[in-house]
Amino acid sequence: MKKFLSAVAAITLMLSLAACGSKTTPNSVFSVDDLPGKVIGVQLGTTGDIYASDYEEEGSVIERYNKGADAVQALKQGKVDCVIIDEQPAKAFVEKNSDLMILDEDFALEEYAICLSKDNKQLTDSINKALTELKSEGVIDQIIRNYIGDDTKGTCPYVSPDGVDRSNGTLTMATNAAFEPYEFYSNQEIVGIDAEMAQALCDKLGYELKIEDMEFDAIINAVTSGKADMGVAGMTITEDRLLSVDFSEPYTTATQVIIVRK
């Protein structure tokens, strides 16, 4: 009985500790010009990280979290002043957190592409060919519409055609499934624009698709070491990344935005 009582006492103590100190500081970032000197939350290794790092010289402190969601959590609690992240995941976060909002101005425009090993030009070529076909057939647009757009969301999922020959083996895709709507878990399965597009690519090229979920900053390492055949993770083409991997043709555009507290 006493053991039970002490357990209850310990839990109440913890909860009361949790309750205190939850008042957050008011928002201080209203535009890109406010960024110098602020604490900026990003996901480690993302383009948001790269852009934010430019402000380090101007006195900003960059907090690099393993997950975008952790950065957003820190923002909610006032541990960072703002979070720089891709537009679509930002929208997903803001939808789920009524105390956050996205600043109107776009931070940077960028293009997403598939990253591939420099040692496998053949795969790069065939993926580029298949991407062009999928684009002209409207499949890519269909997949994007299925995830983005209030009136088209969930209306036009991609379905693999019947009787696809998958004799070419397995194509392993490395991703970080915490990036709605590009890749995220739904009913224990990884879904999203990138996942569906990869499936469409595999259907065209005759592969079985296997998706590996890992930390975002590990994806390029996985591709260069051959642990994965391609990295599809809303990945932007950057100069630095081109030194280690090749990129396919871009398949969509995206913007970086700034999330702040209301």
């Binding site: 006493k2 009582l5 002490s6 310990a10 500790l17 949790a18 100190g21 952790d70 990344r241």
Partner: protein, 231 residues
């Protein structure tokens, strides 16, 4: 060799990337030392309470029963959950306040965690000292606390030194999960470099080497101390 030089340059020299490692080193160092001190303090306290309660048996007073129950609860919860989750709970649930120092949160999380393991190590040490020693001390007119601090604990300490060193080594390496709260320790520093250069070899090897050196230094210190105590 040229390749090696270039890689070394991009990973550590360019854009002063070595600073991620040195900053990480200082964090790892401070967090480990402070957590170890906190852990030892907590561990000794819990161990003394637990072994006293065990020794006095069922006729111990209400205060002791309560203290013993709290200690048992602490040991069960801390040893029964992963350190990483404890760290995340500490950062995102317990200390939600905006201007909390991350190092402080890490020290507290690792210290409380380590304390549970130290407690059991110290308790095993106290139990390893013959019961007659306590009786002798008490019959010489020393109080229970005096007997503990002057007779039992010094002997116990010598016995548990290797196990304690082991715990500190584990603690040092366990701090590598600091990255989960965006605190730059050695591992997170290496990860930041890796995310900028996309080059896993150098940063990871450098981090591993630093841990190895730190652990070797620690082991050397403990060996010296052991030799000093084994009179």
């Amino acid at each position: 060799m040229e390749d090696f030089k270039l890689k070394f340059y991009t990973n550590f020299i360019a854009e002063s990337r070595w600073r991620y490692i040195t900053e990480g080193l200082s964090t790892t160092f401070i967090v480990t030392i402070c957590a170890a001190v906190l852990g030892v303090a907590l561990g000794f306290l819990v161990a003394v309470i637990r072994s006293t309660a065990d020794r006095t048996g069922p006729k111990k007073g209400a205060v002791m029963t309560c203290a013993d129950a709290v200690c048992r609860f602490y040991l069960t919860v801390i040893r029964g959950t992963p350190t990483m989750i404890q760290l995340l709970i500490m950062y995102y649930i317990v200390f939600t306040s905006p201007d909390i120092s991350k190092r402080f949160v890490a020290i507290l999380a690792f210290g409380i965690n380590s304390g549970a393991y130290v407690a059991e190590i110290v308790r095993s040490g106290i139990m390893s000292v013959d019961g007659g020693q306590l009786e002798a001390g008490r019959s010489l007119g020393l109080s229970y606390i005096q007997t503990m601090t002057h007779i039992i604990i010094p002997q116990a300490f010598r016995n548990i030194l290797p196990a304690l060193a082991n715990e500190f080594i584990t603690l040092l390496k366990e701090t590598s999960i600091c990255g989960y709260i965006a605190l730059t320790d050695i591992t997170h520093g290496a990860n930041v470099i890796r995310s900028q250069t996309y080059e896993p070899l150098m940063p990871l090897l450098a981090a591993a080497l630093i841990y190895l050196i730190l652990v070797s230094l620690l082991s050397m210190g403990v060996t010296k101390l052991e030799r000093k105590l084994s009179c």
